[in-house]
Symmetry: C2
Subunit: 452 residues, 2 copies
C-alpha cells in the first residue's frame, strides 16, 4: 500500500502530462495488486493507459486482480487487438470467472473475440458450479511422460511454454500422465532441474500425490493444501484423468474469504464486506432480530413470574448473571466445535468423543460456579429469604452453564445434518436460547422452593 | 488420514514380523504428515524403525513434523552416524526450533554432534526471539549474480544443491545479490529454466520483491504472503543484506495457528487445543470469571434499584433484552474491527473512518430497535405504568446498542495502543460492560421518569 500511496499523485500527474516513459518506469515500482486495490481512483482513460503501459505480465496480473465489472470496463476500453491478446494470455478459469459476472450480450461479444480452443476451455470451465474445485482449477499446465529422462522433460517444458506466458502456466509441479492422460504421478520442477540429465521422470516422481475431484467444495481444497502444505494439486475425474490443477495462489484467496465468512457467521451476520451504512445495518439485522424476539420471550417468561418476583425482588439481581454465564460458556463451546469441524481437528467418527468432552467441561465449570455463586447469594440474602435462596441461584447457574454447553456442542452436528453451515450456529442463537431456558428454570425453581 | 488408517495395522504387524522390505513399500504410500500425527500409536522401537526405513527425504520431512520432545526421543534412539546425517540434512531453523524446546544437557549433546558450520548457523538462528520472522526464516537458499546468463545460473543451482538435499533447500525463487550479499532482486526458477540460455539474470529478475526484516512479527509475514500471494520472501537486515528466506510452507503453519488463536481469543479463552477436561476447564475459567464478576456488579446495580423495581415489576421483563441486544451488536462490531485490523482491510490511517462508520451503523440500529421495542412496551404496559414506560424502554434500548458499538469499535485501538492483542477485546468483555452500563441507565431512567 505504502508504495502506491507514494506514487499515486505522481502517476496521475504523469498520465495527464502524457509522459508515457516516466509512467512506465513508475509502474515498474508498483505491484499490480496495489494498483487493482486503488482502481477506483483512476478515470477510465487513465485505467486504459495504465493497462497498456504495464508489461504484459503485470497487465495480466492486474487484470486478474480486478472484479468482473471492472474487468469488463477495462476490456471495453481496449482496442480489439489488445483485447484479443489479453484473452489469449488469461487462464481459461480466469476468463470463465469473469464471464460468470457479466451480462449475456457482453459474454457473447467476448466469446466472439476469443480463439476457438479458448472458447472450448471456457465452456468446459463454466460447467462447474461456483465454489467447487472445478471452478477454481487452472487449465494451463504441462504434462510429462514417465519414460523421459530429466533432460528431455526440461526441454519439453521450455518448448511448450513460451516465455511471455510463464506467469500463466503452472510449472512448479509437473504432472506425469500415461497415453490416456491418466495421472501417474507428479514431479517438482526443482527436482527435474537438479537431477542428473539422464535420470528418468519415473524415478523422480512422487507416485501418490494428493488429488482433488472437480465436484468437491473449495473448502476441501483449502483443507488439503493446509494439511499437506501443497504448492499445487492435480484435479482428476473418477477415471483418474487429469482435468486441471489447483495452485496455492488461488488457495490463499479462497482461504482468506472463508475465514472472513466464518468470523462473520459466528458474530451473527452474513456479509462482512459491505459498503453503505444502511446496507451494513440491513445485513446485520436478521441475527439481531433473533436476539430481539428471544428477548421478548424472556420478558414473557419473567412476566409470567411477576408474582414470585414481586415477593422476592432479589431474584432480579441474579438473573442477568445466570443467563450471561450460560451464554458465554455456550459461545466458547460452539467456537471450539465449529473450528474443530472446519479444520478437521474433529475427524469423522470422533464427534461423540468431542461432544462428551465438551459437556464434561461444561458440567465441571457449572458445578464450580454454581457452588461459588450460590454461596455468595446465600451469604447476602439468607436472612431475608431463607437458606433455599442460595440453592436456587446455585442450581440455576449450574443448569444454565451445563445446558448451554450441551446445546452448543450438539447444535453444529444437528445443523450439519440439515445442510446448514455450522458456523451460523453460534453466537446470538445459543445466547438467546440459553437466556430463555435458564430464566424459565430459575424462576420456576424459585416459585417452587422459596414460596412454599 | 484415511491412507494411514488403512495401513496402520499392517504397518505394526510388518514391523513386529521384521519384514523390512514390506515396511519400506508400505511407508512409500503414506505421507510423513500423517505418520507424524499418529506418532503416539507407535512404540519407541517402532518409531526408530519407521524413521530408518523411510527414504531420506521422507525421514527429514517426518522429523520436521514432530514436536520437539518427540524429535529428541527419536534422535536419542538413532545411532551416532544417523543422527549426524539427520542434523546435517535439517535446515538450521528447524534444528534451532527443536533446540528451543529441549533441556540444556541435551542441547549440548546435539551441538557436539553437529558440524562446525551448522553450529554457527543454529547459534545465529537462536538469537532471534520466537514468533519473529527471524525465528521463521530458513537458512538454505541459493544466490545468483545479476551478470550471469540464465544457463550459468541453472548450472550454479545444480552445482550448489546436491540431489539429496533438494527438499531442504529453497529453490523456487532465487535471490540475486551483489558482492556484499546485498539484495538486488529475485528471480523464479521457472523463469530461469524457460528463458533463452543467454538471457541475463539482470533482465529476468524482479528488482523490487517484497522483503521482511528479521525482527518483524510472524503475523506481518502472513499478511505479506496473503496480500501478494507470495511463494517466498527474502529476509534482509537494515543494510539490505540477505539473512535468509521465509517460504510459503511455513506460512501455512503460522497462518493456521494464528486463525486458531484469533478464534479462541474471540470466544474468550486462550488455548484451543488442550487435552484433559480439567485443564480445558481451567484454561477457559479466566474469561468466565470476568463475566461472573460483571454479573455481580449487575446484581449490585439491580439491587440498588430494588425500590423502583418493587413498584414497577415489569421493568425486570425488559432488562435481559436491552442488555442482550447491546451485547450482540457489540460482538458484531468487535468482530468486524478485529478482523479488519488483522487482514489489513482497515489500513493505517483509515481507523477513524472505520470507527465512525461502525458507530453510525450502531446508532441507526439502536434508533430502529428502540422505536419498535419502545412501542411494544408501551402498548402492553402503558395502562399500568403510564406513557413514560415505553419511552424508558425505547431510550435504554437505543443507548445500550449505541454504547456497545462505540465501545466495541474503540476498544481494539485502545488495547492495541497498550500492546494488547485486539482479538482479546471481544466477546465476554464487551458483553459484560454493556450489561452493567445498560442496566444502570435503564433503572435510573426508570426511577427518574416513572416514579415522579
Amino acid at each position: 500500500m505504502k508504495t502506491l500511496q507514494i506514487y499515486l499523485a505522481d502517476l496521475k500527474e504523469l498520465l495527464q502530462a502524457n509522459d508515457f516513459v516516466s509512467v512506465r518506469s513508475c509502474l515498474r515500482e508498483v505491484s499490480p495488486i496495489d494498483l487493482a486495490e486503488a482502481w477506483d481512483r483512476f478515470t477510465p482513460e487513465e485505467r486504459t493507459a495504465i493497462f497498456r503501459l504495464s508489461t504484459r505480465q503485470k497487465a495480466t496480473q492486474l487484470f486478474e486482480e480486478l472484479d468482473p465489472p471492472e474487468q469488463a470496463g477495462l476490456l471495453g476500453g481496449l482496442r480489439k487487438n489488445d483485447a484479443e491478446e489479453l484473452l489469449s494470455d488469461l487462464d481459461p478459469s480466469e476468463t470463465g470467472r469473469m464471464m460468470r459476472g457479466l451480462p449475456a450480450p457482453m459474454v457473447r461479444q467476448l466469446t466472439a473475440i476469443m480463439k476457438k480452443g479458448g472458447q472450448e476451455y471456457v465452456q468446459q470451465y463454466l460447467q462447474y458450479p461456483g465454489q467447487t474445485v472445478g471452478a477454481l482449477m487452472r487449465g494451463r499446465y504441462v504434462t510429462l511422460d514417465e519414460r523421459w529422462p530429466a533432460r528431455t522433460a526440461v526441454e519439453r517444458i521450455q518448448y511448450s511454454t513460451r516465455l511471455r506466458r510463464i506467469e500463466e502456466t503452472h510449472l512448479d509441479t509437473l504432472m506425469v500422465v500415461d497415453a490416456d492422460n491418466r495421472l501417474l504421478g507428479q514431479v517438482g520442477l526443482k527436482s527435474l532441474v537438479v537431477a542428473p540429465g539422464d535420470m528418468l521422470v519415473r524415478d523422480l516422481m512422487d507416485s501418490r500425490p494428493p488429488t482433488l475431484p472437480p465436484e468437491a467444495d473449495q473448502e476441501e481444497a483449502v483443507k488439503l493444501f493446509t494439511r499437506y502444505k501443497l504448492k499445487s494439486a492435480p484435479v482428476v475425474d473418477s477415471g483418474e484423468k487429469v482435468l486441471g490443477v489447483v495452485v496455492y495462489k488461488d488457495i490463499f484467496e479462497v482461504a482468506a474469504e472463508e475465514t472472513e465468512e466464518d468470523f462473520a457467521k459466528m458474530a451473527g451476520f452474513s456479509h462482512p464486506a459491505s459498503r453503505t451504512i444502511a446496507r451494513s445495518a440491513f445485513l446485520r439485522l436478521p441475527w439481531l432480530l433473533i436476539t430481539c424476539l428471544g428477548g421478548m420471550l424472556v420478558s414473557v417468561v419473567v412476566g409470567h413470574f411477576e408474582g414470585t418476583l414481586s415477593k422476592i425482588i432479589a431474584l432480579a439481581s441474579f438473573s442477568p448473571m445466570i443467563a450471561g454465564m450460560g451464554g458465554n460458556v455456550g459461545a466458547q463451546t460452539a467456537t471450539i466445535m465449529v473450528r474443530g469441524l472446519a479444520t478437521g481437528d474433529i475427524p469423522p467418527g470422533g464427534e461423540t468423543k468431542a461432544i462428551i468432552h465438551e459437556i464434561a467441561i461444561g458440567l465441571l465449570m457449572g458445578v464450580c460456579y454454581g457452588l461459588v455463586v450460590g454461596a455468595i447469594a446465600d451469604s447476602v440474602y439468607s436472612e431475608r429469604y431463607g437458606l433455599w435462596f442460595g440453592v436456587v441461584v446455585g442450581l440455576s447457574m449450574c443448569f444454565s452453564m451445563t445446558f448451554a454447553t450441551v446445546m452448543a456442542s450438539l447444535e453444529p452436528f444437528v445443523l450439519r445434518r440439515f445442510g446448514v453451515d455450522p458456523a451460523t450456529a453460534t453466537g446470538p442463537m445459543i445466547t438467546t436460547t440459553t437466556d430463555i431456558l435458564s430464566n424459565a428454570l430459575y424462576f420456576s425453581l424459585a416459585s417452587r422452593l422459596l414460596l412454599r
